[in-house]
């Protein structure tokens, strides 16, 4: 966002300097979609488009907190998102037990639990100086363990009908509610990052913590808050995901861990922090989902899919590396 804006003010209004990573990702998503039509006729149609955006929405929502954490820098990363997604879904499944009336209070509780887990992550990272990778990985193990311990593998409960209706089924015309939810989250995240003191401080903390501190930013507070928010958003992601899957299983969120980081990076957010946007992550989620759908449509074996996905990510990141040489 800011880069696009900053570019407007620079003297060299050439095309390459405006071609920021989020924009590259978005163009790539469109190209991939059209490519899908060439490879397998019938791929390009409205229903398919809606389906892909719907699937990308779940990844996008789960990757929202990851975006914030990675922007915060200091080797920031949240490896506990997957477990928290699973926990969020299981809690919703169990506590609502299919009752529509309980959706809102349970959602509140689920997000609070997620925020609590993130808070512990943040406190450990800031005050015990545990590296984020280690802290959140350990937390992932703890959360997974607690889930096993408490449920003993028996997952009882039910998904409320209303959640299914609002999230997974067509809401307005053929478009399911989750897409509106995702767009709403996109707007909220833009406001958070670009139009609140917290957002500006988060970028400052990600770029240079000394400058931030000497400019009056309470760096530890911003970092702890960011991890808490990541936990909260991951739990929310689990809640939303349940509306789609209908049932829960012990590794529900597991397959979102790697993509949640990949979507952020493909969207142009620097892993070193201080630079990025949520609309980039949204584009990144679309790209990943499209690659996934395309490869699946080809009927390739799982292993081949995973190889191609990895290569595509490497190519993209190296292109971004070149971009930065143009002084982004």
């Amino acid at each position: 966002m800011t880069t696009a804006k900053a570019k407007r003010g620079s003297f060299v209004p050439n095309f390459t300097s405006r071609l920021t990573p989020p924009l590259i990702a978005l163009i790539l998503a469109i190209v991939l979609f059209l490519l899908g039509g060439v490879i397998s006729p019938g791929f390009v149609n409205a229903n398919q488009a809606i389906n892909i955006v719907r699937l990308a929405a779940f990844l996008g929502i789960i990757a929202a907190g990851q975006t914030l954490v990675i922007i915060s820098g200091g080797e920031g990363i949240d490896l506990s998102v997957a477990s928290v997604v699973t926990l969020g879904a299981i809690l919703t499944f169990r506590l609502t037990d299919g009752q529509d009336a309980l959706i809102l209070p349970v959602l509140g509780l689920v997000m609070l639990v997620g925020a609590g887990i993130g808070l512990v992550n943040g406190l450990g990272i800031v005050f015990l100086r545990i590296p984020p990778l280690v802290m959140t990985l350990a937390m992932a193990g703890v959360v997974q363990g607690v889930i096993l311990q408490v449920t003993r593998g028996e997952l009882e409960g039910e998904t409320p009908d209303l959640m299914r209706t609002l999230i997974a089924q067509p809401l307005i015309g053929p478009i399911p509610g989750v897409i509106f939810l995702w767009i709403g989250l996109g707007i909220a995240m833009w406001l958070l990052l670009e139009r609140t003191p917290y957002g500006k401080m988060l970028f400052a903390v990600g770029i240079n913590r000394t400058t931030a501190m000497l400019s009056g930013v309470r760096v530890p507070l911003v970092v702890v808050l960011t991890y808490a928010m990541s936990g909260m958003l991951a739990a929310f992601g689990g809640f939303v995901l349940l509306g789609f899957t209908d049932i829960v299983f012990l590794n529900l969120g597991g397959r979102y861990l790697f993509p949640s980081i990949a979507a952020v990076v493909v969207g142009g957010t620097l892993l070193s922090g201080g630079k990025g946007s949520y609309w980039g992550t949204m584009s990144g989620a679309l790209v990943l989902q499209l690659i996934n759908s395309l490869l699946q449509a080809q009927g390739l074996p799982e292993a081949t899919q995973s190889i191609i996905l990895g290569v595509v990510l490497l190519v993209l990141i190296s292109i971004y590396g070149r971009q930065r040489a143009f002084r982004l």
């Binding site: 800011t2 804006k5 900053a6 407007r8 003010g9 620079s10 003297f11 406001l191 139009r195 609140t196 003191p197 500006k200 401080m201 970028f203 400052a204 770029i207 240079n208 000394t210 400058t211 931030a212 501190m213 000497l214 400019s215 009056g216 930013v217 309470r218 201080g274 630079k275 002084r327 982004l328």
Partner: protein
């Protein structure tokens, strides 16, 4: 004997002319100062001579023969080397390994001769004996060194190559005055041994102390070469400044009698400070001097709440003890750090974002961007900030303009107590002049200013009262006619000044 002559060198980067007409003559046994404002082309000229960049036009004559260097190594083989301000040392390696990097003494031509390396490195370190801690040995890793010690290693590294010509590019900026004095003694020795020396510096007093001649560049062109002995400081400054509009320093003036005390500091102690006491009145510009690293930064950081401390701070009559800069900022205290890139700016963010950063909460949620933009615009107009737009990234600015952003972000908050940590380091003469003017304006508005400078001239020219620090204490308080170079230097070296006041009196609690 060696003679180097650069004739009509031109260097263009794309459409930008970095050097339009670079001329320089230097020979064995001579020190030529290369001076000019920032952006005058002196770095480019040095880089051509040392083979870092190739010129587009012009020629370089070494002992009358035309030469062109394809790399710094090629220049080094001809005996030409440079000491830069940006350090090129490898932190993980020892002093000795850094000194000998890429020209290691070999035994039988294959194996590193470690013994010889260490012995020779020790001899080199001994050149600065007394101005660096005795604990430094050839095996000390560079990451353990302070910036001034690193700079010295950098100098020794150049000297270890037995060069015929050395360019010192702002190599004294991080040295303290004892180290500078020692370096100048060494330069005298090297001179008489036949070395040719080019000395690039912003510091007028150093140029007059060390150089035989001065070559002045302005906007990439050679303005003239003069004998230092027959030239005044004023004449040199006039050569450097276009239209000969020499800078008038703001005359130093005492603080208005009876101005209220803004800040009272008693027995301030930190890891480096060992009990510092003084007071500062509204509208006063109080200087802090002394060699580098005597606790000046700690003093400013402690008052600003950025590092823990013991002692009593009283701000406008109220006892305060800030544990975070945020609290100090709420009491209208501002701090301008010395290291722009690492402490003052978010380099990849826009000028607007940088100016807004300390005041974000004042713009509310959602941020009132319109108001922020107009306030930031007003401040950048006041500072005559040269920029493409407020949305341009701050790393697109020149050094002087970037420093204006570091100050501007605090002017947005209208500070009553301004803490300055060596704010003019690496800033060109023109921008310095504007900065002095700004300080005078702020004083007249009643802002209390605590001003640490590593440039003695600044303190002598601007401050009516100077606290000289040595080893974590105030070794002398100079005021009025006692603010002289002699007193300042004596107190910096730790000499006990006859009327040095240590503020022994206890606060009446």
């Amino acid at each position: 004997m060696v003679t180097l002559s650069a004739q009509h060198l031109v260097k263009r980067y794309g459409g930008v002319v970095a050097l339009a007409d670079g001329n320089l003559e230097v020979q064995s046994g001579q020190v030529v100062a290369l001076i000019g404002a920032n952006g005058s082309g002196k770095s480019t000229l040095s880089k051509i001579i040392t083979g870092v960049v190739a010129p587009n036009e012009g020629q370089l004559l070494l002992d009358g023969q035309s030469v062109s260097f394809s790399s710094p190594l090629a220049a080094r083989q001809k005996g030409i080397t440079a000491v830069y301000q940006e350090l090129s040392l490898v932190p993980e390696m020892s002093i000795s390994e850094n000194i000998w990097l890429s020209h290691e003494p070999m035994r039988y031509g294959v194996r590193l001769d470690r013994k010889a390396m260490q012995k020779r490195a020790q001899e080199l370190l001994d050149l600065f004996k007394g101005t660096i801690p005795a604990s430094l040995t050839p095996t000390t890793p560079v990451y353990d060194l302070t910036p001034d010690e690193r700079q010295i290693v950098e100098i020794l590294k150049a000297i270890s190559q037995d060069p015929q010509l050395v360019i010192f590019d702002e190599a004294t900026a991080s040295l303290d005055s004892a180290q500078v004095t020692r370096l100048f003694e060494l330069i005298e020795d090297w001179k008489s041994a036949g070395m040719a020396i080019v000395f690039v510096s912003h510091r007028m007093d150093e140029i007059f102390r060390v150089a035989d001649q001065a070559t002045v560049l302005r906007n990439g062109s050679h303005v003239g070469t003069v004998d230092i002995a027959a030239t005044s400081e004023r004449q040199l400054v006039q050569m450097m400044i276009e239209g000969a509009a020499a800078l008038e320093r703001e005359a130093r003036e005492p603080v208005a009698a009876g101005a209220p005390i803004r800040l009272d500091v008693r027995d301030l102690t930190t890891e480096k400070l060992r009990g510092v006491s003084f007071d500062l009145r509204d509208g006063e510009l109080l200087g802090i001097g002394g060699l580098q690293g005597q606790g000046q930064s700690d003093l400013l950081l402690a008052i600003f709440g950025a590092i823990p401390f013991q002692g009593a701070l009283t701000l406008s009559g109220r006892r305060v003890h800030f544990s975070h800069p945020r609290q100090a900022m709420k009491q209208d205290v501002a701090f301008v750090p010395g290291d722009r890139g690492n402490e003052g700016l978010l380099l990849i963010r826009s000028i607007l974002d940088n100016l807004m950063l300390p005041s974000l909460r004042e713009f509310g949620t959602p941020l009132r961007m319109q108001r922020a933009r107009s306030e930031a615009g007003a401040v950048s107009d006041d500072l005559s900030l040269v920029m493409a737009s407020l949305d341009a990234p701050v790393n697109s600015l020149s050094g002087g303009n970037a420093q204006k952003v570091v100050i501007g972000k605090w002017l947005l908050r209208d500070p009553k107590l301004l803490l300055l940590n060596d704010p003019t380091k690496g800033v060109d003469v023109g921008a310095k002049g504007e900065f002095y003017k700004l300080l005078a304006d702020l004083r007249h508005q009643g802002t209390a200013i605590l001003f640490y400078s590593s440039d003695d001239e600044e303190l002598l020219g601007l401050c009516d009262r100077v606290l000289v620090m040595h080893d974590g204490r105030i070794s002398a308080e100079l005021a009025g006619e006692n603010v002289t170079r002699e007193n300042l230097v004596a107190a910096s070296m730790g000499a006990t000044h006859h009327d040095a006041s240590h503020h022994k009196e206890e606060p009446t609690a």
